[in-house]
């Protein structure tokens, strides 16, 4: 039973890592907030989020065009920023909205290697992802403060754009 539970957790984390990667790639193209944040990453920066000791993982790269490219789930040899959860359960708690990202940082649930300023920027992108793609009552559990100025109409409009872009990216494999 325990092994089954761990297996399901691993599956969930792997799925969420992929969704985060796809979503950030799409949002760096269609959401003005993430687009502005992504533009602030150094060109060519490789960003990895992974679970110790051997994944699941997701890897992004900042392109010269200012967007994020999803490189898949295999960790490259060198990264500019790597956020490594110390245990599968810690990753599950954050990606399952049991524990907020800042609380996870405060509890040292993950190790941040590399460009710390980029790490803070990535956290803001994650907040935006949660605020846009999750229902408000879930998103609030992942961040310090839900953006009060984000109206339902704007949220739904951006949702459509983001999911549309994810679908297009998957079809065109861009």
């Amino acid at each position: 039973m325990n092994r089954l539970r761990q297996g399901l957790k691993r599956l969930y984390v792997a799925l969420m890592m992929r969704i985060v990667g796809w979503s950030l790639r799409a949002m760096s193209r269609v959401d003005p907030v993430v687009r502005a944040e992504a533009a602030g990453f150094p060109d060519g920066l490789v960003i990895a989020m992974t679970t110790m000791p051997s994944g699941p993982s997701m890897v992004l790269e900042k392109t010269p065009a200012g967007t994020l490219r999803y490189l898949g789930g295999r960790l490259p040899e060198r990264t500019g920023l790597a956020i490594r959860f110390k245990h599968l359960d810690y990753a599950f708690r954050v990606l399952g909205f049991v524990e907020s990202t800042p609380t996870a940082f405060a509890r040292a649930r993950m190790v941040v290697d590399g460009d710390l300023a980029a790490g803070i920027r990535l956290v803001r992108c994650m907040y935006r992802l949660e605020a846009l793609l999750m229902p408000r009552f879930i998103a609030r559990r992942g961040m310090k403060r839900y953006p009060e100025d984000l109206g339902l109409a704007e949220k739904l409009g951006l949702n459509l754009k983001i999911y549309g872009r994810i679908a297009l990216d998957l079809v065109t494999r861009s």
Partner: protein, 394 residues
Amino acid sequence: MKDAYYEFFCPVKLIVGARALENIPFELGALGASRPLVVTDRGVAGAGLVDTLREVLAAGGLEIAAVYDEVPPDSSLGAVRAIARRYREADCDALIALGGGSPIDTAKAANILASERTEDLLQFSGAGNLPRPLKPLVVIPTTAGTGSEVTFVSIVRDEERGVKVPFASPFLMPDAAVLDPRMTLGLPAQITAATAMDAMTHACESFICLAKNPMSDAYAAAAVRAVAEHLLGVLDRPADADGRLALAQAAAMAGVAFSNSMVGLVHALGHSVGALCHLHHGTCMSILLPAVLEYNLAARREAIGELLLPLAGAEVYADTPVGNRPEKTIARLKWLKDEIHARCGLPRTLSETGKVAEAQLEQIAAMALDDGSIIFNPVEVSREEALAVLRKAW
């Protein structure tokens, strides 16, 4: 509380009090070292502290193998490389950092190059990028504020790119920190005040930020009490060795507290003010602390109210209704700033420094949002809110 969790780590041996320097030969010997390189700056060397150290160590049978006394005020990669070269040329086997935050951080970074036998320091920047323990490092603070003698962080200025490069690893923690009152007796009043307020800020922020925990709270409260009890007395009587030692201990305790619970918005803003306006870090902290506490007040009323006890003493605490204690804490810090200003002229506002232009505030606010400290602030900070805090401190 069933979900409570924290980590606490401080392996630095503290050697504190009268004739503490005399213990260094024994400590280095226990670490297998006999040829230390002393890293310091011109001011410390000019004050005769290197000579004092040399004399004390020689009497204990330990000769200083080499001295590097050209560490610049904000540290630099050039200095780090020069120290590593000096270390190799003089066949050294340990480092002694003698000075304030800059010589200590520079020595920590130089220890990376000396230990890893490389010239490429930047490959180790960021968090957790050191693969193994470094050479023995003993730190002797000559200011009482940074707490760098007990932290796992070093920040070095890259003079070519104009940015500050952070290094964070448990291997950067010194083997020992030596707090000897002889080393801080000659510190000028304004530096004494600024560095002590740096320690006060470390303690206050660690007491209210997200990673606070019972261990860091204990160190933080003790540090607040020590600064509140001794700072004004030391400014009135600079030769008060007991008061000086109490401030040095406060700085170390605050360092232990914040390296385990981290700091928040005061430091995020202060790092940016320092980087853009070259204002002394402790002065930034002193100016910004009350304004940031007011900003965080709604989210941290209880913790800020608890700070009143170590800050103002039992009588004031007991006389203040529970609901008024948070505001009283902030008022007390403002009073302390005024008292310090009256004694040594330490600026109370950004405008009083004469180094910060009002037009720079927007850039400072934007830069602060990318600072690593900001994630530990209890309130999520927008650019507009950061700017509002800066305007309040203006």
